[in-house]
Subunit: 291 residues, 2 copies
């Protein structure tokens, strides 16, 4: 059985590195990821350079990647219509819009209410019907401010998005509080209710449950999972969020268990080691499981 | 459902710390572990002080703990008859004898052949019939020298030990190469063949699979699991072995999933943080998942 690994390190990983990573370095890492077999990648986000200076080269990164990897499944995060416009103008076909299940995290992360985010999503869908829009739902498994919001709130939210035409969702454990029982309950339920939709998961490893939660989701029917090389990542606007599930760990486990990822583990591992030499010293979010 | 957590940090964790930890510090950590609710603990090992100088205070540690915690389930590791004698003389009731499934790891770890180890085990059983003897089977899921030895080799080995009267086994993933599929196959099989035996598991987190493998074992019927506070641990004689599953991570996950551990998570977490301030700087084996 094939599992699609969505590498989101160039977005969720790099945005948590304090020092700016030069475009050439970013491109070199992306290049090596592709060489290792990564076929799905979130390469940047079109956000305000004031809010996240690390992503200020989004346009350049996307334009180069689109030329260099015409068959790759590339996407970028866009928090609003302005971001979607910039993504669209580069020729990108797929964007991710992020909205939190939790009102307070949405305000902290996107600086607007959920209602305003939903209206903005509608504007994106209306203005750029050519774009494939995935919705990242943040804090699905728990919020740093409001705790566990419960499956009923999630289902209401999904229904709202479904009615707007969204068929691709990414369920995010933004701060790494999910546990396998909860993951199984949620995944089984959403797959049952929305058989015509695609659900990805995005699990942070804050409490060392990245692997166990990702496997729990896969064993309930999820076939698209997000992770970051070296377990980089976090959320600049969610206190306590630490790194994602590490892509190399995930690939190692899945291949050992007989799943197909079409990724060369050894190349990925070498790349992960090399990456730590590049960005060492200015990152503090990886594998902090004690908090 | 209750899961018994066997804290093995004072043995498997401390033995991997380069600098000697004073008796008072060890006792303070043990004291706080007990205060957090730990009821089962491997507190030391009776080994040659030349081989593992960190454990040279085994006698003192055990004597003090036996007096201080008369109701606690305490055990110590003994590699040979001499170790068993020392343990017996302290008044300890329970010892763990370690033998590797892999011949080459047994030679590296215990400095004798498996056959010699099995003979030594018989001497221990014959000389100290009053001692409850658990056998730690090392490299069950893979050996640094020989790779995966397979389930047939394990079942032969178990049968041999069973015929010697052993009913308590600890299946060790000494270098952290197990994966959930393998864990499930092995655990289901051994529980089916030996319903009158108790099996514990001891999983290293080398490739970040400590949690997922431990949960896989629990969901196949295992109720006794080993772990170490802060994920300390390793094997001085197994190249590439890194830390164990962290007790606090395990307790957090299991309690969230509705299992009972009877351990106070917050106390354990505070203790783990405090422990890092005590032993910081002279330990390098924790959570090295890249190799």
């Amino acid at each position: 059985m094939e599992i699609q690994i969505f590498e989101v390190g160039p977005r969720d990983g790099f945005q948590n590195i304090c020092d700016y990573i030069p475009v050439e370095t970013k491109l070199k890492i992306i290049d090596k990821l592709v060489d290792a077999g990564i076929q799905h990648m979130q390469i940047t986000s079109f956000v305000s350079p004031k809010a996240i200076p690390q992503m200020r080269d989004a346009k350049e990164i996307v334009e180069i990647c689109l030329k260099k990897y015409p068959t790759l499944d590339l996407f970028a995060l866009v928090p609003n219509l302005r971001g979607a416009q910039m993504a669209y103008e580069t020729g990108l076909k797929k964007v991710t819009n992020v909205i939190s299940l939790s009102e307070s995290h949405n305000r902290a992360n996107i600086n607007r209410s959920r209602e305003q985010s939903l209206e903005e999503l509608e504007r994106i869908l209306h203005t750029y019907p050519q774009l494939e829009v995935c919705v990242d739902i943040a804090t699905v498994f728990g919020c740093p401010f409001e705790g566990d919001l419960g499956i009923v709130a999630l289902l209401d939210f999904l229904q709202n998005l479904y009615e707007k035409g969204i068929r691709l969702f990414n369920l995010c454990d933004t701060i790494g509080v999910a546990h396998p029982k909860q993951v199984r309950e949620i995944i089984k339920k959403v797959l049952e209710i929305y058989p015509d939709c695609t659900f990805q998961i995005h699990i942070h490893d804050t409490r060392n449950m990245g692997m166990v939660n990702t496997l729990a989701a896969i064993e309930c029917g999820i076939t698209e999972v997000q992770s970051t090389l070296g377990g980089l990542g976090g959320c600049p606007f969610a206190p306590g969020a630490s790194g994602n599930t590490a892509t190399e760990d995930l690939v190692y486990m899945l291949e050992k268990m007989g799943y197909e990822t079409n990724i060369n583990f050894q190349k990925l591992l070498d790349l992960s080691k090399w990456q730590t030499t590049i960005i060492q010293g200015n990152y503090s979010g990886h594998h902090i499981h004690i908090k």
